[in-house]
């Protein structure tokens, strides 16, 4: 538990090691990325740096999870 709390803190302080896009590119590409994910395509290859950004930015990560969930509801209709 202690190691886990330390790991999370260090992760938040250092962010993702891989190159990443910023919040604006993330927002611009999020709909395409989510639909590629839901289609089972290689979203990470199509939108380089977005996954790393989601790892490093809690706000964008939350919005990605919400959009993916909402789009998934629509895609099953």
């Amino acid at each position: 538990m202690e190691g886990s709390a330390l790991h999370r803190l260090v992760g938040r302080l250092l962010g993702p090691a891989a190159p990443e896009v910023g919040c604006e590119v993330c927002f611009d590409e999020l709909d395409r990325y989510v639909e590629l994910e839901l289609a089972g395509a290689d979203a990470d290859a199509a939108v380089p740096g977005l996954r790393a950004h989601l790892d490093g930015c809690p706000a964008c990560r939350e919005e990605h999870e919400s959009l993916r969930a909402l789009a998934a509801v629509d895609s099953t209709r």
């Binding site: 202690e2 190691g3 709390a5 330390l6 790991h7 803190l9 260090v10 938040r12 302080l13 250092l14 962010g15 090691a17 190159p19 990443e20 896009v21 910023g22 919040c23 604006e24 590119v25 927002f27 611009d28 590409e29 999020l30 709909d31 395409r32 989510v34 639909e35 199509a46 939108v47 380089p48 740096g49 950004h53 490093g56 930015c57 809690p58 706000a59 939350e62 919005e63 919400s66 959009l67 969930a69 909402l70 789009a71 629509d74």
Partner: protein, 229 residues
Amino acid sequence: MSAVTLPVTRPVDDIAAPVALSPSLDEESRAWLRDLRSDGSTRDGAIARLHALLVRAARFEIARRRPTLPHLRGDELDDIALEAADDALMSVLRRLDDFRGASRFTTWVYKFGLLEAAVKLRKRAWQGREIPLEPETWNLFASAGLEPDAEAEQRELLGTLQAAIGEQLTPHQRRVLLALAVDGVPIDVLADRLDTTRGALYKTLHDARRKLRRHLDECGLGPELLEEN
């Protein structure tokens, strides 16, 4: 009441902007664009349907966060949903020409409603709460819950990070890093308090993180050790 503004697209790292796909638009998305670009009652009807989509997205976001919002009543939450949808509608109409058909139109629209609702809820959750912005008051050891008998490697890592944050970062980088990464202040809330944008703050955070990584590397605390922690 103003819509969330995300400034001009710019990568944090030097990644080439993704090449836009140019798939043929699906029929439903074409119809949306056609109706929104028409006149009179056709356009009015499309805007009303667009607003309904945005209300749906905003309510979806609120429902997901409902367990973390016990202090807000149902009617307050619905007001937030409508306000978020109103603001998102302005953003969508302003950026209609940005839609490239890389996704369904409805998916593209949803992200505006989700964003507006999420930002409003984060701000409500932090309304009236003090945001600690004094770098003198922080201690990584306490934040990590590290006991005095913690392993030497863990203490060394945290000690090096603590010193690097104090010595390697600019005051602004330190303030932003500690607020976002240690105190857990949402980025939109901090942007609001510092009168800046989310994108600008993330760039500052990114630069601070890169400095810390570089410093740890120079100290021989490479990624292997970080993975172990």
